[in-house]
């Protein structure tokens, strides 16, 4: 027996020849839309060429010809100085900003409008505010605005471009549910160059909670998902999209539904507009079994190629504990429990914070003891990295960002009076509180400068 082996397809490129019998094994005669892997000297085979992704939001009036770079506007590069922006539950000064994380300044409402109050989330708010509500997108801070009245007007997203604060879009009525005024925007996320927007249409503790996901391309708001349903079933209301994360290819959505199981959904394609239960395009990548009842998804995050999602215990009961789950993205559907929280304690939860320094950080709240902790996972072992001390039980985790090589975690508070919030900074392995005793909303973002 002889063996013909071509272990590195693409090492030899295309040949044009009149003699089909003269070519070496592995020679290509056609390589349509396939290019060699991009590591010089490596043997990575042939792969799909880079996609042609539209850059211009608006088409020119004719063919674009004769492209030339035009890069000499600045004779010397101006160093970019990133700054932090954090939302505060304060009508007069709804944001604070800092260049160094130590010295903070109020940003008045005339400069940036108020971010969405936690009260807009109703019962969904619960003890957590970890959903991403402010992101830097296309040169501006985009944030969930508080500029609407529950039941009387629709939620909005605004942006601040460094000088001007403007309305970006208003969430439209839901043609399926008949809901005119959706209740709240629950999360923002950048996915494939678009700003994704998760919306809760109705309170989550109803029999048929409605939710949608939109995408914003800078000029148009597109419905990305009109209704979360399961293909081939009568189940059309899987809950409220609460958390979003993108791996660049798929969008993952963490769902919450009261007295029901949580779920994690994955879009099959990067974009398929207007999908619902009759044209279902979601993969139910983490279908919770009955034992997962009353574990609601608080957040989703990517770490070392896998999807981690965290849960919140809505009601106490035997065997019901908050957890950190790991969903393998290479072995589809394989869900393992990575970390288990305290048992039989209502409102205890984990929430994802950030991937920083090669470690995964999650927030952990134990309702029974009142402990608010930051857990660290290095891929093998979980440890408690910080116990957020001296803060009232009203405190809860908000968002986390990396800025100037430090990790910042917002500890928020509900929108009542109080000063339980703080900002924790991880610098060179040590945690400090850099902006203490404030009523933070939970949103934090980095202005890249």
């Amino acid at each position: 027996m002889k063996k013909l082996a071509v272990p590195n397809l693409g090492a030899i490129g295309v040949r044009t020849t009149d003699n089909p019998l003269s070519q070496s094994d592995g020679t290509l005669t056609k390589s349509q839309n396939a290019l060699p892997g991009q590591v010089p000297g490596d043997s990575p085979g042939l792969e799909t060429r880079p996609g042609l992704v539209e850059v211009t939001p608006t088409a020119a009036s004719g063919a674009i010809s004769s492209l030339y770079p035009f890069n000499f506007g600045a004779t010397s590069p101006v160093p970019k100085v990133p700054s932090l922006l954090v939302a505060v539950e304060d009508a007069s000064n709804p944001w604070m900003t800092s260049l160094n994380g130590t010295t903070w300044a109020n940003v008045p409402v005339a400069t940036i409008a108020r971010a969405q109050s936690e009260s807009k989330l109703g019962t969904l708010a619960g003890p957590i505010t970890c959903n991403q509500g402010a992101v830097w997108y296309k040169g501006a801070l985009h944030y969930i605005s508080d500029g609407y009245t529950l039941g009387a007007s629709a939620p909005t997203v605004r942006k601040w471009d460094g000088s001007t604060d403007t309305l970006v879009f208003t969430i439209p009525p839901n043609p399926t549910s008949g809901i005119t005024y959706p209740q709240a925007v629950t999360a923002l996320c950048i996915h494939a160059g678009y700003l994704m927007v998760a919306v809760m249409e109705s309170a989550f503790d109803t029999a048929s909670p409605y939710g949608r996901v939109f995408c914003w391309d800078g000029t148009t708001l597109w419905p990305f998902c009109n209704r979360f349903g399961l293909a081939g079933t009568s189940t059309v209301n899987l809950g409220i999209p609460f958390a979003l994360v993108s791996n660049g290819c798929s969008l993952f959505v963490g769902m919450q539904k009261w007295q029901d199981e949580g779920r994690v959904l994955q879009s099959r394609a990067a974009f398929e507009l207007g999908i619902d239960s009759t044209s279902f395009a979601w993969l139910l990548v983490a279908p919770f079994a009955s034992t997962y009842n009353d574990e609601l998804v608080t957040g989703v995050i990517l770490y070392k190629g896998d999807l981690y999602f965290t849960t919140w215990v809505w009601t106490s009961g035997a065997g019901i504990t908050p957890k950190v789950y790991c969903l393998s993205l290479t072995a589809t559907g394989l869900v393992t429990t990575s970390l288990t929280g305290p048992a039989s304690t209502t409102n205890s939860y984990f929430c994802p914070l950030a991937v920083y320094g090669g470690n995964l950080y999650v927030g952990a709240y134990n309702q029974g003891t009142g402990a608010l902790e930051i857990k660290k996972f290095d891929g093998a072992t979980w440890t408690t990295d910080l116990t957020v001390s001296a803060h009232a039980a009203l405190a809860r985790f908000g968002n986390a960002v990396e800025c100037n090589s430090d990790l910042y975690v917002v500890v928020a508070q509900n929108d009542g009076a109080g000063t339980a919030g703080t900002i924790c900074r991880l610098h060179s392995g040590a945690w400090t509180y850099v902006n203490d005793a404030k009523n933070f909303r939970g949103f934090i973002a980095v202005n890249p400068g």
């Binding site: 002889k2 839309n33 396939a34 850059v55 004719g62 030339y68 770079p69 290819c249």
Partner: protein, 548 residues
């Protein structure tokens, strides 16, 4: 700040790093042709634009102010009604400088100027006229329009503008292009800070006209070839791109030996060359005192300026019969392995090679050459040359039927990272985006169809019948998707066999036996927009028939 300039129809457009388009306002008399590409060169923080415009233009650092790049050179043969004089240079050694917002007093004369730029006769200066520059600081500019009366005597070829501001001596200020000119537009720039300074216009003469076909910047000069004068290489004064003396020219030996004339500038390291379709000349010297041309190569040339890409110290360009490089080892062909692409009409429309264009992918070290499909009049295909593998791949095609490339160039994004940009006939700019497996817009796109064919495997001896065993294929593991494999077993004219499928959730798949035949060929196909297709390789056992 990273922007791009493009020609869109009969307009020039600036594209900012967010993809927003803004159409530049053209000076009076300037027309953008839809028949020619725009060709650009950067010098002294301005981008000079030629060929598409009927007048050599300059775009300033803001990308918004457009003015003729020279007072005369490259202007249209029929003069516009106003001569715009760009005063945007501030070398006090060469230019007349005034201080402060002020009123200027101008007068003009008529002059007869010969082809060498010499004033042979001049009239008396006319009555003085007062104009006030009002400049808003900082760093803004003000214009005044000085109107002159056209002379009636045909011996006067030019108007000359004079200034007597501040009660001092009258100074020569500017010179118009010929007689049809009836006004000067003067522009003064205010410097930032107190006590603004104005830069005056350079004193010089330039009387030649004609559309500039080729343009390049080299050693602080602009070099140009005009349509009317294909056998002359013209250059401006050193660091003074608005001044093109008639004496600044070098004869091009091959300029008129065919219907095409010079076709491209090639620049590498500190060298500039000018190519025809079948010869290349190198410019030696560093100033007007010693510029000379030397033949670099005969029988090889460039067919399209837009295919010229400089990578490090090597220039890559499309010639009549293939792709060539000019580097430290001289000029050599790099497309011998795929020679038939460029010497036969089976793959590409060779009559459209002059409209081909190219770009370079700095991450993957790939030269992408966009060509017209055989029988087609639009650039619907491209091929890729890997610099580090010295291999060719393709031809590629867009997945979206609406995307037909019309231009390409390496641009910078908002993070100052270079990327391959592709302009298209649909008026949109596209970015070659690694990790994206579709073409188009995120909300409306098509999966990229990957199709790979390998040459016939002869199994040592093409004339011996063989038993081809179970095929094993290796690919990168993905969460979904599948590759369709089509084997062909038999002689070269054998029909394709039943297809096989490699599910991408598995890294290795072992397929059925492929059967009996002298030769074997495989084709791989996939077109999912969600998962990358990365084929590592394959192996297959075989036996000569009747032997074990």
């Amino acid at each position: 700040m990273a922007k791009a300039l493009a020609r869109v129809g009969n307009t020039l457009v600036v594209i900012d790093e967010a993809g927003a388009l803004s159409v530049l306002t053209l000076p009076s008399g300037v027309v953008i042709s839809t028949s020619y590409p725009a060709r650009c060169a950067a010098l002294l923080e301005k981008l000079y634009v030629a060929y598409a415009p009927n007048w050599l233009l300059s775009v300033d650092r803001l990308g918004a102010i457009l003015s003729p790049g020279s007072s005369n050179f490259g202007r249209p043969p029929s003069a516009p009604t106003a001569s715009l004089v760009d005063l945007g240079v501030t070398d006090p050694g060469q230019y007349w400088v005034l201080a402060g917002p002020r009123t200027s007093v101008f007068s003009y004369s008529y002059a007869a100027i010969d082809s060498d730029g010499l004033v042979t006769e001049e009239s008396e200066r006319g009555p003085e006229q007062s104009y006030t520059f009002t400049t808003t600081l900082p760093a803004h500019y003000a214009d005044v329009l000085v109107t002159v009366t056209a002379p009636t005597d045909p011996k006067w070829t030019h108007c000359r503008l004079w200034d007597r501001s501040g009660g001092g001596a009258t100074q020569y200020l500017a010179e118009s292009v010929p007689i049809a000119v009836t006004s000067f537009l003067l522009r003064s720039y205010g410097a930032s800070g107190a006590g603004s300074a104005f830069a005056g216009v350079a004193i010089g003469s330039s009387t030649l006209v004609g559309r500039v076909r080729l343009l390049a910047a080299h050693k602080d000069y602009l070099f140009a070839v005009r349509d009317e004068e294909p056998d002359s290489l013209r250059y401006c004064e050193n660091r003074q791109p608005t001044i093109w003396p008639a004496s600044n020219q070098i004869p091009l030996p091959d300029g008129k030996r065919d219907d095409f004339g010079p076709t491209a500038f090639l620049a590498r390291r500190d060298e500039l060359a000018i190519a025809h379709r079948d010869s290349i000349w190198r410019l030696l010297g560093s100033s007007e005192d010693d510029f000379i041309l030397q033949r670099l190569v005969e029988g090889i040339g460039c067919v399209s300026q837009e295919t010229v890409v400089t990578v490090r110290d090597t220039v890559i360009f499309l010639g009549e019969d293939g792709v060539y490089s000019w580097g430290p080892e001289g000029v050599k062909c790099i497309s011998e392995k795929v020679r038939f692409w460029f010497t036969r009409d089976t793959a590409f429309n060779r009559s459209q090679f002059s409209n081909a264009f190219a770009t370079f992918d700095p991450e993957a070290l790939l030269y992408h050459l966009f060509l017209y499909l055989a029988g087609s009049t639009s650039a619907g295909r491209w091929v890729s040359y890997s610099l580090h593998r010295d291999e060719w791949y393709g031809p590629h095609l867009p997945a979206e039927a609406l995307i037909t490339p019309s231009s390409a160039h390496e641009l910078e994004d908002a993070s100052d990272q270079n990327y391959c940009a592709v302009g298209a006939y649909d008026g949109k700019l596209y970015r070659m985006t690694p990790g994206t497996f579709w073409d188009g817009k995120s909300v409306a796109h098509s999966a990229i169809p990957v199709e790979v064919e390998v040459a016939f495997h002869v199994g040592e001896d093409p004339d011996v019948e063989k038993v081809w065993g179970q095929l094993s294929t290796f690919a990168e593991v993905q969460a979904g998707g599948a590759i369709t494999i089509t084997p062909t077993v038999g002689w070269v004219n054998a029909a394709a066999g039943a297809t096989l499928s490699h599910a991408l959730t598995a890294g290795r798949v072992r397929h059925r036996r492929l059967g009996l035949g002298k030769l074997l060929k495989l084709k791989f196909f996939n077109n999912t927009d969600l998962y990358r297709t990365r084929i590592f390789g394959y192996e297959i056992p075989y036996w000569f028939r009747g032997r074990r």
